[in-house]
């Protein structure tokens, strides 16, 4: 970490998450972590590095390879007043714990007539691009954003990673924090002199523009920012990039205000677009902004195939910047 005089530090996304965990572990004794190899091994993606040494095995709890079991244990702990923060190594492994997430964590408050909550946090990265092939390269966040009773946040910057994880831990309802494999090493500025909690349910304007609104979350925001530069430099198109940050609740006010300004929208996500986050956002744009639209809302996701292993095919399947650029130009009628 590089520190400046003002307290603004440049750190990676992974370091920002770690900082949030440390700050919350220090702030609230009911916070504890659970997950596979998050202790001695310091986490598969090193997000929890150093925490085991400082907080010990009772608060940095190593689990067997049994997602259904330890997510269920965390739901129980949350119901009895603890604030467990569960790491699922990647979102691909959450499938065996779906019943615990969807049928238990999301339903507790409703089934107990509001008398019992479930302040559970599940942190897990989505994304592809490391040749992890079909079973380990997926982005399922839309599945969880589909479920009433869950909150889903998806930070794209180190500052938001820290701020949204903090808010998630403090929230009295279950929150999924969708991280991203490509973003862990991404650097950004974080103001460590302030608490920095980021309100859940608020999108952010990652880049201002006037001709096109690009709506994205997690790593797709980074892709869109690069494409926006290209659009400006090569085509004179000024693109605004909206970073959703929260998928549920979804901040349509920010999206709609942007589209009302630009009259054109392109929705981008890392996963499959069919029935995905872009489907939801595009549908809501068409409703909220019908009289503002100058072109049909565009969408880009990964190719609708299981992710191939071969590097060339993986690259072809990803929602890479050439695809986003082409879609942006189409929406702009250029």
């Amino acid at each position: 970490m590089a520190t400046t005089e003002t307290g603004i530090e440049t750190m990676t996304y992974r370091e920002a998450l770690r900082l949030a965990l440390r700050e919350e572990l220090e702030r609230d004794p009911s916070v504890f972590l659970m997950g596979e190899e998050i202790g001695v091994f310091q986490g598969s993606y090193k997000v929890t590095a150093g925490l085991y040494d400082d907080f010990g095995p009772e608060r940095i709890m190593e689990t067997p390879i049994s997602e259904e079991g330890f997510v269920g244990a965390a739901v129980g702990a949350a119901m009895s007043g603890q604030r467990p923060v569960v790491e699922i190594m990647t979102i691909n492994f959450i499938l065996v714990a779906m019943d615990q997430v969807v049928n238990h964590a999301a339903k507790v408050r409703y089934m107990f007539g509001g008398k019992v909550g479930c302040p559970l946090v599940i942190r897990t990265p989505n994304g592809a691009g490391n040749q992890l092939t079909a079973q380990h390269s997926q982005s399922f966040e839309g599945w969880f954003a589909h479920v009433p009773g869950l909150k889903v946040v998806a930070p794209a910057t180190p500052a938001d990673a820290r701020g949204l994880l903090k808010s998630a831990i403090r929230d009295d309802d279950p929150v999924l924090v969708i991280e991203n494999l490509q973003l862990y090493k991404a650097k950004g500025e974080v103001d460590t002199s302030v608490d920095g909690a980021v309100e859940i349910g608020r999108a952010a304007i990652a880049r201002e523009g006037s001709d096109l609104t690009m709506v994205a979350h997690t790593f797709a925001v980074t892709r869109c920012l690069h494409v926006a530069e290209k659009l400006q430099a090569d085509h004179g198109i000024s693109a605004e990039v909206v970073d959703l940050r929260s998928l549920r609740p979804l901040d349509m006010e920010t999206v709609a205000a942007s589209v009302a300004k630009t009259n054109r929208a392109l929705c981008v996500e890392e996963g499959w677009a069919s029935y995905g986050v872009t489907a939801e956002v595009a549908s809501r744009i068409s409703l909220a902004c019908f009289d503002d639209l100058d072109a049909p809302v565009g969408r880009v996701g990964m190719a609708e195939v299981p992710m191939p292993y071969a590097k060339s095919l993986e690259d072809a399947a990803l929602p890479h910047e050439e695809k986003i650029l082409a879609a942006a130009l189409e929406v702009c009628g250029a």
């Binding site: 205000a257 009302a260 009259n263 909220a288 902004c289 009289d291 503002d292 100058d294 072109a295 009628g333």
Partner: protein, 444 residues
């Protein structure tokens, strides 16, 4: 509150024009009462109320609207507004200024909805049609923001040419049009009061200032809807149909004799079949024997029709109308005569109804009354052929080696070669001639 929407009055209708409201805004109407005259691409029709209650007019006279667009509402809860009521209904429900409910609260920026009456002319195009790229009969393709801006600035989208995909009118097109007419209304300020509807001349920028040319002064006339349809259909026919023509001369002596006998035999007031009625009947009988002449080339297939419906071209009020004699092959000559008289009268009076103008499988066009000896007609797509009928006149012909004068009529068949080939067309035409030269066969 039931909405009265632009009805579909014919198969080919895409939009209609409100010609005249037969009741006043706020009047009580009853189910079945005729309330409005609507001009379609084919005819003018009165349209009836389908509910009881006070009628509130949404679409002004002259407005052209797509099928399904609200033209009025009927019901007790007519919204309030300035009253021009006649006193009788003034107490119950006053005529409205803002008939359309506001948008759902969830819609953020697009808060202020213009009253429907303001929307009508701008949103989907006023009755006027200039020389714009989107003119004539088709639904204007425009993005929602383009429509909104046009609505807010009283701009007729039909005047614009779209630069978007597939000719869609986009925001940039509207903005440049607004700049072009020196509009002061800022597009980002939807609260600005809509300007009063501009007269048609002002809305058509190109037409307004006609430069002096070596053709002298130019005046422009807008096409009425029928003329728009004629222009479109004729161009479509010539552009898409590979056509050829065959002609033959028909000896009409026997037909003349028959007609003289029919005339003598006719009761008082009974219409005497004309030569054209005989041509219709002869064509119908021949069509029965040549199904492809009665068919259509459509979407890569021959479409053959079980009914023989002969359209008869009639010159109307500055237009050409083709009413249909249905099942002409099974009707008697007298029946055809009565039918064509009635249809022609309806055309002249403008009361012809769309069902009487559609369903034709073949067309007969006759200019003989003007002394034209022969001409070629333009196929009424998707029909396979059209018969052009010239005048009956005495001509010098050779009979048994002798030069004699015989009353002769030239008929010319224009054919779509995709379905009706040369030899078939020739035999079909010869069969018509044979029937006309032996007119007693028309009695069957």
């Amino acid at each position: 509150m039931p909405e009265v929407v632009m009805p579909r009055l014919s198969d080919s209708m895409e939009e209609g024009t409100i010609l005249r409201w037969m009741v006043s805004d706020g009047d009580e109407v009853t189910r079945g009462q005729e309330i409005v005259e609507i001009e379609t691409d084919k005819a003018t029709m009165a349209y009836e109320a389908d509910a009881d209650g006070p009628l509130h007019i949404v679409a002004e006279e002259g407005a052209t609207l797509p099928i399904g667009a609200t033209i009025a509402t009927i019901g007790e809860a007519a919204p309030a507004g300035g009253g021009d009521g006649d006193g009788a209904s003034a107490g119950a429900a006053s005529p409205a200024a803002e008939p359309v409910a506001a948008a759902p609260a969830s819609a953020p920026a697009a808060a202020a909805e213009a009253p429907a009456a303001d929307r009508v002319p701008a949103g989907v195009g006023a009755a006027t049609n200039g020389a714009g790229g989107n003119g004539g009969g088709e639904r204007v393709k425009a993005s929602p923001i383009a429509r909104r801006l046009a609505r807010e600035n009283d701009l007729d989208l039909r005047q614009l040419t779209g630069s978007g995909p597939a000719g869609r009118i986009v925001k940039a097109d509207v903005m440049s049009a607004l700049e072009g007419r020196g509009a002061t209304a800022a597009p980002e300020a939807p609260a600005a009061a809509p300007v009063a509807p501009a007269p048609a001349a002002a809305a058509a920028p190109a037409a307004a200032e006609a430069p002096a040319t070596n053709k002298g002064e130019i005046t422009y006339e807008d096409l009425n809807r029928t003329q728009q349809v004629i222009a479109r259909r004729m161009a479509e026919s010539k552009a898409t149909v590979p056509e050829f023509t065959v002609s033959t001369d028909v000896d009409m002596e026997a037909a003349r004799e028959l007609r003289a006998q029919l005339k003598a035999a006719a009761a008082e007031g009974q219409p005497v079949p004309s030569f054209n009625d005989m041509v219709v009947k002869a064509s119908a009988l021949a069509l029965r024997e040549y199904p492809r002449a009665n068919g259509s080339y459509k979407d890569g297939r021959f479409e053959l029709h079980s009914r023989v419906n002969v359209g008869v071209a009639v010159a109307g009020d500055d237009a050409l109308i083709v009413p249909t004699v249905f099942d002409a092959d099974t009707r008697s000559l007298g029946d055809i005569a009565r039918t064509t008289r009635e249809l022609a009268a309806s055309v002249r009076e403008g009361t012809i109804r769309p069902p009487e103008l559609s369903g034709g499988t073949f067309t007969v066009s006759n200019l003989g009354m003007f002394g034209v000896t022969h001409f070629t007609a333009v196929i009424n797509v998707p029909q396979a052929a059209i018969l052009a009928v010239g005048a009956i006149e005495p001509r010098a012909v050779v009979r048994d080696g002798e030069l004699v004068a015989r009353h002769t009529m030239t008929i010319t068949l224009t054919c779509d070669h995709r379905i009706l080939y040369g030899a078939d067309a020739a035999q079909f035409l010869a069969r018509i001639r044979e029937l006309l030269e032996n007119p007693l066969q028309l009695a069957f």
